[in-house]
Amino acid sequence: MNLYRSHIGRVITPIIVSLTYIFLYLPIVVLVVFSFNDGNFAQGWQGFSLRWYASMIDSPEILSALKASLIVATSSTVLSLIFGTAAVVATRWLRSRVYLSVFYANVLIPDLVLAIGTLCLFSTLGIPLGYKSLITGHTVVGLGFVIPMVAARFNQIDPLLTEASFDLGATQWQTVWHVIVPLLMPALIASSLLVFTLSLDDFIISFFCSGTQIETLSVYVYDQIKNMIDPRINALSTCLLLASSVSVMTLSYFKILDQVVHHE
């Protein structure tokens, strides 16, 4: 848009933007590159090697951390998806007399507060920390994303479609399965991906609420950083980066990302 013949803004802005992106990606690129480095530390390139990846796959701690993270992520995604969607359908369509607005504030609750709260709650009730506490906390966060996103998509569905479905002889249940759920699908997929990724990446809630038996991936990385730097972490980080990238690319490809962004 060349409305102005010349002004600093036109020149400076792209520079700032480029620098920002370089800033964002510089450490990541270094991280990934050196995950293939045949040697410790970023002291020098000692040849291409996949040894850290192999070592990573061999490591029992990493595998159990991965398993823990996956269990928590899958469970909380499923729970928040089912409960959240049910709440949206019940409220917006069947006209349940409750308000969804309370869930929109979930995203503003700092992780720390939720983590400590869950910790206190479980210890007051005498329930040991572990999968239960993690899944509990993550589902709360999940609901805070599923409900706004599914509700937004639901509002876009032409109400006449459900009437047409009834008119043609479908029951409520059939209408839900054949008309509403398919039309909600972009929001369902987007929110599941989002919740799953957030759960995998979560640190604070995992840190406080995992208890002694379980260690998730982020907590594992944290411990490693505190104790010693291990290039296996580079390999692990690269894999996590890859997983997130695939997730984001998928959403973007199906143009679902616009809806996520615009919903914020």
Binding site: I16, L24, P27, I82, A87, V89, T139, L257
Partner: protein, 289 residues
């Protein structure tokens, strides 16, 4: 039995929404209440309820005041820095970038979709004693030895800004994206320079996004401990680290709870102060027009 089925069918909407609401109540609201309760209870009293404000009052002591100040400063600095960087980026993405808007957006979000631990680690790797930057400086001769750049406020802030940047860009982008570009054309048509258009059209319209961005950055940043902990060495203590210690190491949950409650209120207070300041500024600049 038939009556039960009928009643079930009639109340189906309520039943369907119940799990989500129960979950919200028991696992979000109750925990916060529990924290508040802990913060007000006398420690060690097993039967009955003895309330006290000592935990909060203790926070007014110098040592805690310093910690709260540190966290406030960190949150504030992070917010301001991210705003300065985020605004032009959001503007560019929303208003200028045409073909690459979506691609750039995707790449902006990508780093933050990984665990922030990974993000921290990536800087850690660069800045550590035997990391890339230190090695380069050493090899060039600018530094006499390998130096760890992970110290103090600088590195912590760097890490914070790095992790929180997208949270500031996205809300501003969303608001600016929704803005009709033809407003800018009209402004230019009516004789406004680029700067004037920014000041009178773009900035006012983007303020709601800025507010959300500030909320999304300051509230979590205040309670942050992992980033400064890993990047800043042990020179300063923050609210988050204190909370961590109290809960994980010393079992002094009551004062810890008080600190957590504080970490909800202080950033809100700062933002409220901002709002008041802006309102006052708006009021006093009414004379402009």
């Amino acid at each position: 039995m038939r009556k039960l089925r009928e009643m079930l069918h009639k109340e189906l909407p309520l039943l369907m929404s119940l799990p989500a609401f129960l979950w919200e109540f028991y696992f979000l609201i109750i925990p916060i209440v529990v924290i508040a309760a802990y913060s007000l209870l006398v420690p060690g009293v097993k039967d009955g309820i003895a309330l006290t404000t000592e935990h909060y009052l203790n926070l007014f002591s110098t040592s805690y005041a310093v910690i709260i100040f540190n966290s406030s400063l960190l949150a504030l600095v992070t917010a301001v820095l991210t705003l300065i960087i985020a605004y032009p980026v959001a503007y560019y993405l929303a208003v200028r970038a045409k073909r690459f808007k979506n691609t750039l957006l995707v790449f902006l979000i990508l780093p933050s979709w990984t665990s922030f631990i990974v993000q921290v680690y990536s800087w850690f790797y660069l800045l550590q004693k035997k990391g890339l930057i230190s090695t380069v400086l050493y090899r060039i001769g600018l530094s006499g030895e390998y130096v760890s750049l992970l110290n103090g406020l600088g590195a912590s802030t760097l890490g914070m800004v790095y992790c929180y940047l997208p949270f500031m860009v996205l809300p501003i982008f969303t608001v600016l994206d929704r803005m009709d570009n033809r407003l800018l054309e009209a402004s230019a048509d009516l004789g406004a320079s680029w700067w004037q258009t920014m000041k009178h059209i773009v900035v006012p319209l983007s303020l709601s996004g800025v507010k959300i961005g500030l909320l999304l950055v300051m509230i979590p940043a205040f309670g942050e401990f992992a980033i400064p902990d890993l990047m800043g060495g042990v020179k300063r203590t923050y609210v988050g680290s204190v909370v961590m210690e109290k809960f994980m190491m010393y079992r002094s949950w009551h004062s810890g709870a008080a600190m957590v409650m504080v970490s909800i209120f202080i950033p809100l207070l700062i933002i409220a102060l901002f709002s008041i300041a802006r309102w006052w500024w708006e009021l006093s600049s009414r004379g402009d027009a």
